[in-house]
């Protein structure tokens, strides 16, 4: 073994360089490299499960060694919480019914319920400059690219890669992520982009005159036909105006527990309903704009 002919790696080196170059170029054209990513994710899935398992075991051990007293306490707490939330749901059901009736009056399609499944985030890290997570559900469960992922408190991100056993989720803090949102208080629409993991999101292209204040809740507007309508994205943390700049600098604290959540929800939206809803919104916006264009100075209301 030691006295094998020492081959010069120079030739192979050049070949491999060209090969990686081609691979990267090919991968840039996302649509075609789908199967490559899928195959590679099947290769690394055992690694990811192997590293994630001890952490899940630890959590399981913690659960199974908790005392009877603790369990009773937790049970009582959960029962109280359930009661409270059931009371709230009663109200929501009533509101939903009312909403449906109103929509029927307006002749607009009603927003159908969506299908939701629970997924587990695997305990694996990725490069610290990328806000991503790996979940334990893949193609088998019907996960698809662009699928919205939420947790109990808000929107987490969307699926960007689907493998046979695992999928990769891009969190809303990723620099590639953009979520169309709407201010809950004033209804102003804007786009929230990620600025990197552990950093607040930024609201872009918001003019100085827009009515957005610190503490406003931002909800998804669903105009991207990807995220569900009306889920909390975050709370406005700071609003700064710089003289000489066209737009305000707005930082948003994400509502979802991006670092702590272990369990997340995968959503299957009735895409058609979302689409038609967004289309109606856009049409309404266009109509409003036409009207304001017609009479640039609307008469003062009494």
């Amino acid at each position: 073994m030691l006295f094998r002919r020492h081959s010069n790696p120079g030739f192979r080196f050049v070949i491999l360089l060209v090969l990686s170059g081609c691979l990267m170029f090919y991968d840039q054209k996302k649509q075609q490299s789908e199967h490559l990513h899928s195959a590679l994710s099947a290769v690394v899935a055992p690694l990811q499960y192997a590293i994630s398992m001890p952490f899940e075991l630890l959590a399981w051990a913690q659960d199974s060694f908790s005392t009877h007293q603790q369990l009773l306490q937790e049970n009582a707490d959960l029962k109280a919480k359930l009661l409270l939330q059931q009371a709230q749901i009663q109200k929501i059901l009533e509101l939903e019914k009312e909403n449906r009736q109103l929509r029927a009056l307006l002749k607009s399609s009603s927003y159908l319920g969506s299908n939701v499944k629970v997924a587990q985030i695997l305990a694996v890290d990725v490069d610290p400059y990328m806000a991503q997570a790996v979940i334990d559900k893949g193609k088998k469960y019907g996960v698809f690219e662009g699928q919205p992922v939420i947790d109990a408190d808000g929107v987490m991100g969307q699926v960007i890669q689907v493998g046979p056993l695992t999928s990769r989720v891009m969190l809303i803090t990723d620099t590639r992520s953009a979520v169309p949102v709407q201010d809950e208080r004033t209804g102003i629409r804007a786009i929230a982009i990620g600025t990197g993991p552990q950093r607040p999101l930024a609201l872009i292209n918001v003019p100085e005159t827009a009515d957005i204040k610190v503490g406003d809740r931002l909800l998804t507007s669903g105009l991207d036909l990807r995220y569900p309508v009306g889920y909390p994205l975050g709370i406005v943390k700071s609003v700064n105006f710089h003289s000489g700049q066209l737009f305000a600098t707005i930082a948003i604290q994400p509502a979802a527990n991006l670092n702590q959540s272990r369990q997340v929800l995968l959503m299957w939206l009735p895409a058609q309903a979302v689409y038609s809803e967004a289309k109606q919104d856009l049409e309404k916006m266009a109509k409003e704009k036409q009207e304001t264009d017609k009479n640039p100075l609307p008469p003062m209301s009494e």
């Binding site: 120079g10 990513h37 990811q48 960007i160």
Partner: protein
């Protein structure tokens, strides 16, 4: 040169690379994530230095591709960077083998810097460069860990006396 060589089983090479890949994705506290050493690069460089005729650019490329899969980066990105430093190490291995440990750690530092800068450049080209200079911290931690990686992997190999041909 000493009158013995190390008889390295393929199992050890495989296991060390596997463990390095695991360490690369091992969950760590948020504050320490920038300090994570580049385990895979360290182990690949070790094997290229120790067994340049067995472990070279080919293995580096394949391991780099797996790393791309783990990190969800552009396919071929880590593969390219690892291949480049493996190639440089295979060119320099005769000299580096005779260096004292602090000097070889310095060489490792230079190679890891090349590796990180290459990845930074590629990420920049596709418009997602690392958003912090803390990205370069791991060069230091990798250099500090190099003597230990070397020691652990060397001890695990069985010494056999060198037969003269």
């Amino acid at each position: 040169m000493s009158r013995h060589h190390y008889n390295t089983p393929y199992g050890l090479i495989f296991i060390s690379l596997f463990v390095a890949l695991l360490l690369e994705v091992l969950p760590m506290p948020v504050w320490s994530q920038w300090f994570r050493p580049d385990w895979v690069a360290l182990v690949v460089l070790y094997w290229v230095l120790t067994l340049p005729e067995r472990i070279s650019v080919g293995v580096a490329w394949i391991i780099g591709l797996v790393l791309d899969g783990l990190n969800g980066t552009l396919l071929g990105e880590h593969a390219l960077a690892l291949t480049v430093i493996a190639f440089l190490m295979s060119k320099w291995h005769r000299q580096v083998k005779n260096f004292p440990v602090w000097q070889s750690a310095l060489v490792i530092g230079i190679l890891i810097t090349i590796y990180k800068v290459l990845i930074w450049a590629i990420q920049g080209l596709i418009g997602q460069p690392p958003n912090s200079y803390a990205y370069l911290f791991s060069i230091l931690t990798s250099m500090l860990l190099w003597p230990w990686v070397q020691a652990v992997l060397t001890v695990r190999q069985t010494r056999v006396p060198l037969r003269t041909p």
